[in-house]
């Protein structure tokens, strides 16, 4: 159990690609580095990982699909004047639904919900995780024990049942409700990861130096410690976004939330409701789920590259 393995990239002068296996990465973070420099080096490390590169390209495709949905989709998402339950054809690439909607257009528009929920919920959970995790790691005493208890409680309570129960109370809250429950149940894991990292940075010399020069706790936490955790924070963003996307699709599939919004989850809800299994509408079953899986995979793939940022042993080409 080395501590060094989980430490962030040194903000020193060694370019990441020169680190070989077995090199002990002695982290010598010295306060705030130029955020632009950290970002660009981080991006190049991620890009150097083949899996992460595939992930970035895949994610970009989905983002473009979401942004330009009205230009890409041949019809509107809930335009329903077409023949029912048609198979794939020239005018309807993926066929039509039981309500006479164009499946391809729905798949394209569905990207909007998933991408949006992923980014918003991922961002909000990470924000809470950063604030809670860093403060929790820095302070000592009874308050830290209380936070510890709350985080463990949120971690252990099974997320999806809790979401479903809350969603049942907040009838028809739509997308806001879904984002709310996803964030509520999704921040704890990141908070725990960030807390242990904060604890290990807290004891280092440059923090002691800052304390002696009279910096306040908030300044030390957010100006001195935070910049050294970019890779972990990025990692928890992608992790949180992935689970948010899967959670949203699960809730929509159960018909909780707004079933009139066209999302990949609600498409599957209607498909299974209208017995697409029996009518042999396999594209209707296959396409939305595959999109969810590919979008989630793209985020996981990017996270492989992010893992390499904080842990050189996990970088590609650093085999035994």
């Amino acid at each position: 159990m080395t501590v060094a393995a989980n430490l962030p990239e040194p903000t020193g002068s060694t370019p990441p690609h020169e680190l070989e296996r077995g090199d002990t990465v002695a982290p010598t973070p010295h306060g705030p580095a130029s955020p632009l420099k950290v970002l660009s080096r981080g991006a190049s490390t991620i890009w150097s990982n083949k899996k992460a590169r595939i992930g970035v390209v895949l994610l970009l495709l989905f983002v473009l699909m979401a942004v330009f949905a009205p230009l890409i989709a041949p019809y509107g998402a809930s335009e329903n004047g077409f023949g029912r339950n048609q198979g794939p054809s020239g005018s309807h690439w993926f066929g039509t639904t039981a309500a006479g909607e164009d499946v391809f257009s729905q798949v394209v528009f569905g990207a909007r919900i998933s991408v949006l929920v992923g980014f918003i919920a991922g961002f909000l959970s990470t924000l809470i995780a950063v604030v809670v995790g860093l403060s929790w790691g820095y302070i000592r005493g009874p308050l830290a024990d209380v936070i510890n208890f709350v985080v463990n409680l949120v971690l252990v309570i099974p997320g999806l049942p809790l979401m479903i129960v809350i969603a049942a109370y907040l009838q028809n809250g739509g997308m806001t409700m879904i984002i709310f429950v996803v964030v509520l149940t999704g921040w704890a894991y990141g908070a725990r990861v960030l807390r242990s990292q904060t604890q290990s940075i807290r004891g280092r010399d440059f923090i002691t130096a800052a304390q002696f020069s009279g910096d306040g706790a908030a300044r030390i936490v957010f100006r001195e410690i935070l910049p050294n955790m970019t890779s972990l924070i990025t990692g928890s963003f992608f992790g949180a976004a992935t689970s948010a996307i899967l959670a949203e699709s699960g809730l929509s599939f159960l018909g909780i939330g707004d079933t009139t919004t066209v999302s990949w989850g609600s498409m599957l809800f209607w498909a299974s409701n209208s017995n697409a299994l029996l009518t042999g509408q396999w594209v209707l079953l296959f396409a939305p789920g595959l999109c969810i899986a590919l979008l989630a995979t793209s985020l996981t793939l990017i996270n492989f590259g992010v893992d390499g940022l904080s842990n050189p042993r996990l970088r590609e080409g650093s085999g035994r």
Binding site: P158, L162, V165, T242, L254, L285, L295, A296, T300
Partner: protein, 326 residues
């Protein structure tokens, strides 16, 4: 011993917090369960005051102060008295849960253990053979399948293995014309029905174990004591299993405890697709019918069982790694 007592204390404290949360949840939300039930009845026509009073009495519209409500609620929880379900009126909530529980526990429990063992072994192999196809195949495959939504995997299996190939029954936990008993015929019928839900959970949860174990293993493989063991000329398999994997499995064990929560949640989606009569299916029915007593009791039960599972994993962790007992 001290370690055990501390963990037990923490378990009780967390259970109390979960019970309290369950008490607070309906009270924090707009409207009361009775309002929702009455609103639902009102769709079919006007609700006469007597019915309204009966529903309110049954669903416990707040009477008395909050504290006495809370004490009464705690008492009910201890007596496992969760009231009467109104979807399956006049059945007891406790009876309904007791009937659903074995299906989930046996099916989900067994699959989770199998997935954990198989995934961990594959992860060890992937890390040990890093860079070869034995690494690439499970790692990439695992990355992809762990992103599969539970319900989508379930739908695909129903479609291809159920409807197209007709290999497995597609819904329920046993044949339509049989009643649950402990005969060999019934058990084999039940196993036949469990295949598709079990495969779904296996496919979607395997990847997480592979990836997690591979990461841990790569970390321990870089540690000095592993290099030392290798330099001493120990057989590479001995090093992999006795030195690296033994230590790498510890974080995965905590993950196992946490994952149970995910599997219970995920099994809800799976059970819904297969109409599998477990707790997840029951919870889904409770939610769609706004059966608040049943819903609350189920949520509490799922939470408490995940807490218990985590407790046992913690104890096991303490046995395997003396450092955590400090």
């Amino acid at each position: 011993m001290w370690y055990l007592l501390r963990k037990l204390g923490l378990l009780l404290l967390t259970a109390w917090a979960a019970i309290t949360l369950n008490f607070l949840l309906p009270r924090l939300m707009p409207g009361t369960p009775a309002d929702a039930a009455i609103a639902k009845l009102a769709q079919n026509g006007p609700v006469d005051p007597a019915t309204r009073a009966a529903i309110e009495a049954q669903l416990g519209v707040p009477t008395g102060d909050a504290w006495s409500q809370y004490v009464q609620y705690l008492g009910n929880v201890f007596r496992l008295d969760f009231g009467v379900s109104y979807t399956f009126f006049p059945q007891n909530v406790s009876t309904l849960i007791m009937n659903a529980l074995p299906w989930t526990l046996v099916m989900v429990g067994l699959v989770t253990i199998v997935a954990f063992i198989v995934g961990t072994l594959l992860g060890v192999l992937a890390a040990w053979k890093r860079g070869t196809w034995l690494d690439t195949l499970p790692t990439l495959g695992g990355t992809f399948t762990s992103a599969f939504p539970y319900f989508w995997t379930a739908l695909l299996l129903v479609f291809f293995l159920g409807y197209q190939l007709k290999w497995f029954p597609t819904s329920g936990a046993y044949g339509r014309d049989s009643t649950p008993n402990l005969s060999l015929a019934f058990i084999s019928d039940a196993i036949g029905h469990a295949w598709l839900p079990a495969l779904t959970i296996l496919i979607t949860s395997l990847g997480g174990w592979i990836l997690g174990m591979r990461n841990n293993m790569i970390n321990t493989l870089g540690d000095d004591y592993v290099t030392f063991a290798e330099a001493n000329g120990l057989r590479s398999r001995t090093v992999a299993v006795k030195y690296a994997a033994r230590n790498a499995i510890l974080p995965n064990l905590t993950g196992f405890g946490l994952a149970l929560g995910g599997v219970v949640g995920g099994s809800l989606l799976v059970e819904q697709v297969f109409n599998y009569p477990g707790v997840g299916y029951l919870l889904f029915n409770a939610v769609t019918n706004q059966d608040f007593p049943l819903m609350q009791a189920l949520f509490l039960m799922i939470t408490i069982s995940v807490l218990m599972a985590n407790f046992f994993v913690d104890i096991l962790y303490g046995l395997l790694d003396p450092r955590t007992r400090r």
